[in-house]
Symmetry: C2
Subunit: 232 residues, 2 copies
Amino acid sequence: MRTHELVLQWIEKQLSDGDLTLGGRLPGERAMAEQLQVSRTSVREAVRILEAMGVVRAGVGSGKDAGTVVIAEPGSALGSTLRLHVATRHLPVADIVETRVLLESWAAERAQVGVPALEEAAALLDQMDEASDIDTFLALDARFHVALAQAAGNSVVSAMMASLRGAIENYASTLTENLPDWNATSTRLRAEHRAILNAVNNNDGGTAARLVAAHIQGFYKEAGVGNNPSPK
Amino acid sequence: MRTHELVLQWIEKQLSDGDLTLGGRLPGERAMAEQLQVSRTSVREAVRILEAMGVVRAGVGSGKDAGTVVIAEPGSALGSTLRLHVATRHLPVADIVETRVLLESWAAERAQVGVPALEEAAALLDQMDEASDIDTFLALDARFHVALAQAAGNSVVSAMMASLRGAIENYASTLTENLPDWNATSTRLRAEHRAILNAVNNNDGGTAARLVAAHIQGFYKEAGVGNNPSPK
DNA sequence: ATTACAGTGTGGTTAGACCACAGACTCTCA
DNA sequence: TGAGAGTCTGTGGTCTAACCACACTGTAAT
């Protein structure tokens, strides 16, 4: 077993045992190195991996943002991983879109009325009405979908949803260049968003799920993702 | 931007541009360091991250298994990430199980008859009939479920399925100790597996999906995962 | 009291050395 | 001529020891 894996194992144990909790600080790299009788290099490699996994955040200096702190950001971490694999051409974008449809439909169907995430979603829609440039619109759109997914209350689904969206974010941005008429498209997307949110708030999960699926597939189809996700 | 992130960016570009493909070798660490004008340490940190993401595999020595090679194993990488987050107690096991049900039901419904993965699944069932100890059985069980998911032909869903299963592998192993009668349970599980596979082979996706959902929920419920996944 | 500055501890980076490993090569000897 | 032993080379794995930038903390000078 490689040295940095030993460090990883040790840290994972600290987490499992509850000795290290969210917001907690890891010992300094030099201290850990001495405690585990390994070099600082190996400690750093382990920390790098945890950072890539979204489990810790490293900050220099001193004070509140300094040191290596335990966080919980599985979404962005999974997103980076998926993005890299898309780059290797072994995760087709069509499969990602299809999976998004699957997860978001499920979440829309089970979204619970009254949770804070839904209020945030509504606020985001208002902001989108005033967004002028495309990138701002897309960023708000991403947050809206994530908020909607959160309303279902399953953190794994939320994280995966966010990661899928993140993995193809640049891709989606590029796609908009293919659109014949962005104004028309954005107007349609905004209307669809309202309809989805209304269905959710009316406790009509089935309709919400169908609308979400059509919404996502419609966008990528119009923007020209060659492959058509298998129809439900 | 930190140095190792620069290296990561460079490698990702090589992948995107197709200069680096599956099975291909990265330049040696020393060569990359010189080419990018950074230290070997920084190159190594980048490689460690890619390794954690399941994008490359590092091997010492010389010959076919040596050097840093591009692979495509998103499943195990995502699994490690999820496992760590479970350790931080911010991804409840119940949510993972629920997501498994979601993904596997979907996959079972769309599994295509005749693909190699289904033949492998059938072979695994035969092996499970002869498996004596629990851990062997569970390992085969995991492979069966992954094979079933692969039959749907969506690589993202397959990878996520595998990762979810991997994230709670140890957990599942521990759970079996809670079972009152392993022989009875394993007999039931085997019968359920056969029924699922039969439904798939009869092109009865709806039934297959229902059976899979019941199969997974039943196991965790019997084994005592407190939380009950929200009913469909 | 306010300000300037040195001190301290954090992660970030580097250079250079040595190790174990595994295949390729070469030399020796039967 | 063939087989075996020994050497060479290049890979990643690890370690040490230094230096940097940063951000707060305490202290001393004004």
